[in-house]
Symmetry: C2
Subunit: 313 residues, 2 copies
C-alpha cells in the first residue's frame, strides 16, 4: 500500500498499516489504538495549525520542565485524570483490601531508612504528629517482610524538593520495616493542603481551565511485599476543605482519617510530649497478586508464550 496522496481520512489506516510488521502484538494493539484516538481527536475538533503548534510547544515545555526532582508529565497525567483512570483499571481491589490512588510527582527513590519510632521531620516547623499504621493480609496476618515508603508535604504545603535552600536533603520522607505485628509508627509533622506546582505548563492549563490547583492534605504510602500488589496510596485528612475538589482526582472515602489533636503528656510510644500533638492511624490490607500460581504454570509450559503479552521494546 502506497502512502502517497493521503487524505484527512485515509491517513489513519495508512499509519496503522505501516506498523504491521512490529514484533509485539501488544505494541501493535496499543499503538494502533493510540493513532486511531489521536487522529479521531484532531478530526473531531478540526484542530487548527495554530492549535497544533501550541500543542507541540506545550509538550516540549512540559518535557523540559522535568528533572530528577520534578515530573511535569506525571502532573499533567494527574490533572487530566489519566492517572486515576490507570490506577482504577489496574487495581480492582476487593472490599477489605486498601484502595490505591495516584502516585504523584514527588516520590524520591532511595529515601533514608528509619527505625520504628523515628522522627522523619527533624528540624522542620509544624504540628508534631504520631503516625501509626499496620500492614496485614486480608486474613489479618501481619506482613513483617513489607517495605513501607512514606512521603508528604510540610506545614506550608511544600515537599522537601520544593525547598531549594534544603539542597536535596530528605525531609518528611523515609522507609520503614514493620515489626512482628505488622506495625509501623513514626513521628513527623501534620501535612497541609497544597497547590500542585503551577509555575510550569500544567499551571498554564489549570488557569485556562479555570480550575484551582489544590490537593487536600495527605501522607503518601508505598507498601511493597513479595507476592502482593504494590500498594500506592494516601491517608487524607478528614477535615480538609479540598476533599471534594482534589486537583488530581485522587480522593477515596476509604482513605480518609482524622488527624486527631491530643493533649500534652505521654504519647503512644511512651515518650513525653510537652506540647499538644496529633495522631493518625490506618490499617493497610494488601492484595495478593492475582493469578500468581497460574502464571507460574504457564511459564513452565513455555516461557515465550508467557512473555508475548509484554510491551515491545
Amino acid at each position: 500500500m502506497s502512502t502517497r496522496n493521503l487524505s484527512a481520512d485515509s491517513i489513519t489506516g495508512a499509519v496503522i498499516q505501516r506498523m504491521r510488521r512490529a514484533k509485539s502484538a501488544r505494541f501493535k494493539q496499543v499503538m494502533g489504538s493510540l493513532v486511531k484516538h489521536l487522529h479521531d481527536f484532531a478530526r473531531d475538533v478540526k484542530l487548527t495549525e495554530q492549535e497544533w503548534e501550541y500543542a507541540i510547544d506545550f509538550l516540549t515545555r512540559t518535557g523540559q520542565k522535568c528533572d530528577d526532582k520534578r515530573q511535569e508529565f506525571i502532573l499533567l497525567s494527574d490533572t487530566l485524570g489519566l492517572s486515576t483512570l490507570i490506577t482504577q483499571m489496574n487495581h480492582s481491589s476487593k472490599d477489605e483490601e486498601t484502595e490505591q490512588t495516584v502516585f504523584g510527582p514527588f516520590h524520591r527513590m532511595k529515601a533514608p531508612n528509619f527505625p520504628l519510632g523515628a522522627n522523619i521531620s527533624k528540624g522542620v516547623r509544624g504540628k508534631p504528629c504520631f503516625v501509626s499504621i499496620t500492614v496485614k493480609t486480608a486474613e489479618g496476618k501481619p506482613m513483617r517482610n513489607a517495605t513501607v515508603d512514606v512521603w508528604h508535604s510540610d506545614a506550608e504545603g511544600y515537599y522537601d524538593v520544593q525547598h531549594k535552600e534544603w539542597k536535596g536533603a530528605h525531609k518528611m520522607r523515609g522507609v520503614f520495616k514493620p515489626d512482628s505485628e505488622g506495625r509501623v509508627y513514626f513521628w513527623t509533622i501534620v501535612p497541609l493542603f497544597y497547590p500542585v506546582p503551577t509555575d510550569g505548563p500544567v499551571g498554564e492549563l489549570l488557569k485556562a481551565s479555570a480550575r484551582h490547583p489544590m490537593r487536600p492534605a495527605h501522607i503518601h504510602f508505598l507498601v511493597a511485599a513479595p507476592g502482593y500488589d504494590r500498594l500506592v496510596t494516601h491517608v487524607f485528612d478528614k477535615n480538609d476543605k479540598y476533599l471534594d475538589s482534589d486537583a488530581v482526582f485522587g480522593v477515596r472515602s476509604s482513605l480518609i482519617r482524622e488527624y486527631k489533636r491530643q493533649k500534652q503528656g505521654t504519647a503512644p510510644d511512651g515518650s513525653t510530649c510537652k506540647t499538644p500533638y496529633w495522631t493518625v492511624d490506618y490499617d493497610f490490607v494488601m492484595r495478593p497478586l492475582p493469578g500468581k500460581a497460574k502464571k507460574k504454570a504457564v511459564a513452565r509450559k513455555g516461557s515465550k508464550t508467557a512473555k508475548s503479552g509484554k510491551q515491545g521494546e
Copy 2:
C-alpha cells in the same frame, strides 16, 4: 459535583466538568474532546501501569531531546501521521492551487536573504542544481510581494543543523523575493533521500514499529504573501525510491518533479557550467485566504464575537 471515589468510567465526565468555567468556548471544546479520546484510548487497550510509566518517560525524553535546532515532538507528530492530517484538514486546496505538505522539524527562522541567482550551498559538496520556480495567483498573476523560504538536505541526506562541525552556519537554505514575473531561481546542490533522526525517542518508536525512517529527496518551500494562505510544501524527486513509503506520509503526486541532468555548457541563467548540472522547476499557485472579506465584516459588527473562537491562553 464531588470528585471523590471516581471509577475508570466516571473519571472522564468529572474531569470535563471541572473545566466548565473556562472562559474560551473553543478551549473547552478542544480539551473536552482531548480528555475523552485520551481516556477512551487508555480504556480501549486497558493500559497497564508499566506502559503508562513507559509513556511518561517517552514523552519526557521527547521534550528533552528538543532544542533550537531539533524538534522531536514535531518529528513524533510527523511519523504518527498527525502532521499530514492537520495539513489536509486545514488546506483543502482547489485543483489549480499547489498542495501543501508537512512542515518538518528542520526549518530555521531568520535564514539569510539572497538575491536571485545566488548559490545557497557554497562550499558544500554535491551535484550542482539550478532551481527555478514561479509564484502566481490562480489567474496567472505574478506575486512579486511573496517571500520564498527554501531549505533542504545535502548530498548525504543531512541538513545544516545536523552538521555539528558547521557550528550553526546556514547552508542549503535561504530567503528570496520573486522578480516582476513571479520568478525565483538559485543555485544549490541536488538533495538526497535521508532518514529522519533516529537517535531519539522517535527512532525507538520506528524501530519497535519495524518501520524504516527514510524520506524521499525533496526541497522545502515556505511561500508567504499578504492575503494568501501560507504555502508549506516540498518539491520531490521523481526518481526517488522512497516516494511510496515516506516515513512522515508527506508525498503528493502533484509535488513530484524530475531533477534533470543537463550537459555542461551554458546554464539557464547564462552562466557557464564546466561540469554536468541538474535543473528542477515548479510553478506555485497560491490560495487566497478564504472568507477574508467575510471576517472583516464580522469584526466590524463586534470584535469580541470575532475573538471568541480563539484558543484560551
